[in-house]
Amino acid sequence: MSFQPITSGQTLSGSLSSEGSLGYQIQVAANHKLVIRLDGPDDADFDLYVKYNSPVTRWDYDFKRISRYADEELTIGPTQSGSYFILVYAYRGEGQFSLSADIVSEELVLVPGQQIAGAIENTKGACYFRIPMDAGQRLMIDLNGPLAADFDLYLRFGQRPTNVNYDQRSCSGSSIEKIEVAATQQGDYFGMVYSYHGMGPFTLAAGSGRQPSLLIITSKDNLEHKYGSATFLRINEKITAYAQSVVATGKEVLTVFVDESDSLAPYDLDPVDPQDASAIKDLLDQLDRKLNADHFLIVGGHEIIPFHVIPNPCGDDGDTVVYSDNPYASRDLDILISERALTRLPDDAATDGTFFIGLLDQVAQRVQGPSVQAFGLSAKVWEGASNCVYQEIVSGDSVKLSPPVTNREINSDWINEKAYYYFNLHGSEETANWYGQEGVSYPVAFGPNNLNNGSVEDAVVCCEACYGANIIGKSCDSALSLSFLDQKVACFVGSTKIAYGPSEPPCTDADLIVIKFIARVKEGLPFGEAFLKAKEDFARESISMHGYLDKTEEKTLLEFVIFADPLAKMEVHS
């Protein structure tokens, strides 16, 4: 394929038949912004692919824009010095199009938590950038340039610095420079990377300098309203003790009450209505932008920090909505694929706080180390699919089946001191029990009583039963998920609503998400990160299987939640 030259400000016309393509290339200097615009036929779908310094194809590219329309816009910046190769492809339909490219010489924008790459191409050359900041933040800027050069860093509030007019500078004699602002002003900081001598690429990173490993959010108003002041104080002590246990491991922790001014004042944020899940998500987004935490923990159940209530993608299965933590775990409006390692430690419906305080006590102790054994129980009708999942947990072993097994036959030896518990049974909104199935017989397979004399501490529990993680208005007697947590399991993964799975392999839906989670836990990832990556793995594999995420897969992504300390992980003694 040949690539026709295009220059900044130029608009070229072309014509494509269906699945045809045309190539272009543009020369760009370093540290600019390149904007490429494609305007195609209204009834067609044209796409843009771009690659730096070598010919681009649909399979080998650095940037792409492939909406379902023929109008596309792609912005690249900061640019590197060289050629950008552009491919226009007619994915569907045909017709005339126009292509334009603009090289914009505006400064680079850097935000805390971000790293950008640039280059200086001659001695005494400079590259400018801007950092928008809120008041009272700590700002750290790190420059990392070529070993053979000497790049300097300048910073000035409100306007561009020069070599003589600046607020701060870092000139070490190398190309590794650092500037720190202890408390920022509200507004734009302007920076300059200046080549005292030499040339080459550099990276520039901005940070708040304060990056808590864990951000805990909860509601003071809701805790006080539900438990009363005295019990709230005890709960708060337990949250503090948990945070201290995390700090003792070398990590930073920040606890925020979403409805308390004092808690949010250091971040120049206002309290929000603790009943409003959307407002809490917005607050969490703002906190994340300022703090860039690695892990997130919601302390409390639906009454304390509400689940998001999402319309059910499978609208005709009887559930009108899905209770989900995915919006809290997502950095944007696309809630199917999350970016945050987020878990929840729920409370129960009781108002004495016994369960909740016990749970917080348990996670603060941070103990791990059960045996490697597992217990699996499945409805007989799902034997094939369940054993496929169970092989991921314990190779060579099989699940027990209900029927014949019922809750009356569960032997304590089967369930005591195991590392993993796997349940693929029916569930009900009405009771705590989980049920087997053979034909039209639905015996009680497992209930809270089966845990009465059990020893399930520090285990991982994965449950595919419908409503397995439904905790709204429930107590330990009426929700097995809470019963397991009361018995000090380390982690419970389950569904808030009707969950799906096949009767035979290949595994999809709930079966697949459990497989992916177990695999990530076995890699040694903390539970929060394992759950995050499991959902990504699930989405990728589902798309690879049939080309898209269907409605039950979307529902699976939304309805599966995790109750755990996000930093804890399975450390199995062999």
Binding site: G318, E429, P443, I543
Partner: protein, 94 residues
Amino acid sequence: MTLSIDQLKQIAKDYIQKDSPELAAVEPTHQEETRIVDQASQAKLGLRQPKTIPAKVNVFTFKKNVIAEDGAKIPIVTRVTVDADGNVLKATGN
């Protein structure tokens, strides 16, 4: 070959008769799904594959409530996905 909705429904019912006979007497509801990957999700997943050709599939949902041994009401749902040619692409239930 493109089959009518009634013909596709019969294929789904035949499948249920064998796979989940307890739902054989249930009249399914019908939904169309478009096979498309949301662009935002695709970008987050880092997928570089060509776009899926938008094509519709038919989903038939068989649902009823049953009574368990202890008297609890349990929802029983199976969704059967069938393409326009009558191929059963997926069956999933609870």
